[in-house]
Symmetry: C2
Subunit: 283 residues, 2 copies
């Protein structure tokens, strides 16, 4: 039976999810809530949501409550929502960090009605205007700590991701934060630093930035990502990101030293080792 | 009048150029030469070139000679070709470094018939199979040290780039190498280091690499780039790349230290500063 979905946070991720869930018939109605009235109005205009409501109204009227807010807000929201739901309602988050959230709800009486998820897709843009259909197709969604959710909740939420055409991987919150630290958070950190370094040097000449269209653009793309979303991610996952950043800084320093010494053999080895990433990534 | 173009190095860049130049009618015939017989055969099969010849034959029969080889080979090839041309033939390179090349031909009697150019486009792939029409459309081509080429040579080569739909920017070789160090070479260095760091850590689990499809894939894309092309670029431009790499390492270390200290204010400032890159890049 099609569900009423309550979307808290009408941005890129949540907006894109409900656009597809409505189209696929999984959702009969989308009601939305957001701290920003501007974004809430835009989401209505763009037909991402059918109705704008306040949070308590949303909780009481939804079958499934999707929390698609920055991760610092999510840690506060999950217990607040779990305090107020009946046993036939399910709650999920879609955030990029899980350890702190896992701890925050570990002992909640309604923990079983919550599923910690991370649909791994996105763009460097944010807000309801950035939402589009098909964002999640064929991407991976991670379900964290599935043994802490009750079977009914897992069933409903996995069906929801089935309708988004996503592939599910189940893992514990700690492993999630470590892996995601590597493949997502580290990439954002090095991209932010690239933007800051280049802006520091190339102060005057905006034409220069567009020279290397392909290469520079793809490496610096993530540096456009929103501070409201990413600052809380870095803070919540600092313990996993710091050792990863140190390994990265160490590797790049080695490259720098080989270059300074004009050590052709070591530089060549380094690049060939990097080339092995080809075999690890899908075409 | 349509020209016979001699292409030395039948890879991604040279191959893509001649495919368009033939289609646009600027070239009447493409003859090709390459150290790799395999690539030369592939280029014939793919109709990138009309005829495979040896280098001396190519030089004597071409109106325009395009040197699209790794930059270490280019530094040797330009004087070799200039030694053997008549005054109605023109030579250009398309490499990513210019200072060393500029020095190598500074005093050549036929310097005026050579134009140092850098059409700024590409992909992470290489070889004739990677070539495709439209690679250069609306991208920037840099002409280096135009005052050292004679007016006829500049006229012919600028017409050639007109037929590739490229926008020309003229600058001296030193400025080219410094700017390109920032927007292209640095991006490659940090992407290679990302690949090496992640491969070092995530030894076993290939599924992990595909988790963060969008973000990681775009940041690590350049790490697939060929060692034959990139090792000589790093070596030739080391003097410009080293100070840039040091600025980058310094910025990323600052980010790391703010994160370790959980300094929300400085982390937020850093990300907002990085976000300014949005205004500098074309949509």
């Amino acid at each position: 039976m099609a569900k009423v979905i309550g979307l808290v946070g009408v941005g890129l991720i949540g907006g894109s999810m409900v656009l597809d869930l409505k189209e696929k018939g999984f959702a009969s109605k989308i009601i939305g809530s957001d701290l920003s009235d501007t974004n809430l109005k835009k989401a209505l205009e763009l037909k991402i949501i059918d109705e704008a409501v306040d949070l308590d109204n949303l909780i009481s009227r939804s079958d499934i409550i999707v929390l698609a807010t920055p991760v610092n807000a999510t840690v506060e929201l999950v217990p607040y929502v779990l305090d107020r739901i009946s046993e036939d309602k399910f709650v999920l988050d879609v955030g990029s960090t899980k350890s702190m959230l896992s701890d925050a709800v570990a002992n909640h009486a309604n923990r079983g009605n919550f599923v910690a998820t991370h649909p791994m897709s996105g763009t460097e843009f944010s807000g309801p205007e950035a939402a589009f259909k098909g964002l999640f197709k064929d991407r991976v969604a991670i379900i964290c700590d599935p043994e802490k959710s009750n079977p009914k909740a897992l069933n409903v939420i996995s069906e929801m991701y089935y309708h988004l055409d996503m592939r599910l991987i189940l893992m514990d919150a700690h492993s999630h934060d470590e892996h995601v630290g590597y493949v997502s958070h580290l990439s954002h950190a090095i991209s932010y630093a690239l933007a800051v370094a280049v802006l520091d040097k190339e102060k005057d000449d905006t034409a220069i930035f567009n020279l290397a269209a392909g290469g520079f653009a793809s490496t610096v793309r993530l540096a456009k990502s929103s501070v409201d979303m990413w600052l809380p991610i870095f803070e919540q996952n600092a313990d996993h990101i710091l050792p990863i950043l140190d390994i990265y800084l160490d590797k790049l320093s080695s490259f720098r030293n080989y270059l300074e010494q004009r050590d052709t053999e070591q530089l060549g080895k380094f690049i060939k080792e990097a080339n092995r990433i080809k075999d690890k990534l899908k075409k």
